[in-house]
Symmetry: C2
Subunit: 165 residues, 2 copies
């Protein structure tokens, strides 16, 4: 499905580090065979940025022919944001992503401004810029880029899920 | 797929009034055979409220077993909001929804607060409360209710798409 090759493909994505019990997400879980499989990586040039690439399927159209469904955009940005939050959380704790305990984040707020239509049939670039990290939350700015133009931008607050007892 | 029966099922949903050229939306288009088919109606007791019911499929899980994927929630609320905007727009113009010219709205801002996990396996109730209507935009408050509890709430601004020339 959607995820396309990048020069980061030789590295594991954030989502591939999720523990088996937390890898069912429709948007990015490696265990969800019907899912979208969003895969997020650190951006190479920006220490506080992450990136994912995604090519929507032909049925992911919005109401207007030729443009991507806004709900799908919200979905893939949400997964990229929570993946980014996990990566930022491990970095905050100075731990590798495959170390215990597992850190998983959930969305507390997602606020998106749709600036212009997002075209179908091109690779979409998803960016998260980390603005603030504490021991319990990660605040990010999000953007979606298509053909060099930002089509959607916004912010997201992810909060750390308490560890399962 | 997801949409379930309600006591409004004998009436046409807002989305069933969309013109053929605008009915491809993955979230709510009647012409998208792979879509979610969200269907929205005026709420019976509240003149400024609309309602839709949706049952996620089993693969629409979030990263945590037993809970609905947050991205899907954003998607179905987005479709319910834009459907509501269309209905509000026709009402603002004192026209029936099957009259010309067609009014279609797109998302300008979607701002969601995830208050608690949304359980899988139950019918979800989507509500939009119309706060402001002008000739170009509709502002709404959104909420998602599962088992009597609001799990997600927020706001949405939809803007009228200029008519195709």
């Amino acid at each position: 499905m959607g995820q396309i090759s990048t020069n980061s493909m030789d590295k594991k994505s954030f989502q591939e580090y999720y523990a088996t019990g937390f890898s069912h997400c429709y948007g990015c879980g490696t265990s969800n065979e019907h899912g979208l499989h969003v895969k997020s990586y650190w951006a190479e040039e920006h220490p506080d940025e992450t990136v994912a690439y995604f090519r929507p399927d032909s049925h992911h159209t919005g109401g207007f022919p030729g443009f991507v469904y806004g709900g799908l955009i919200a979905a893939i940005l949400d997964c990229h944001g929570n993946g980014t939050a996990a990566a930022a959380g491990y970095r905050f704790q100075s731990r590798p992503m495959d170390s215990e305990p597992n850190l998983r984040y959930v969305t507390a707020n997602l606020n998106l401004n749709y600036r212009r239509p997002t075209p179908m049939g091109v690779d979409l670039e998803l960016r998260a810029h980390i603005k603030e990290v504490t021991d319990r939350k990660v605040l990010m700015e999000l953007s979606l880029i298509a053909e060099g133009q930002v089509t959607v931008e916004g912010s997201m607050l992810s909060v750390l899920l308490p560890e399962k007892k």
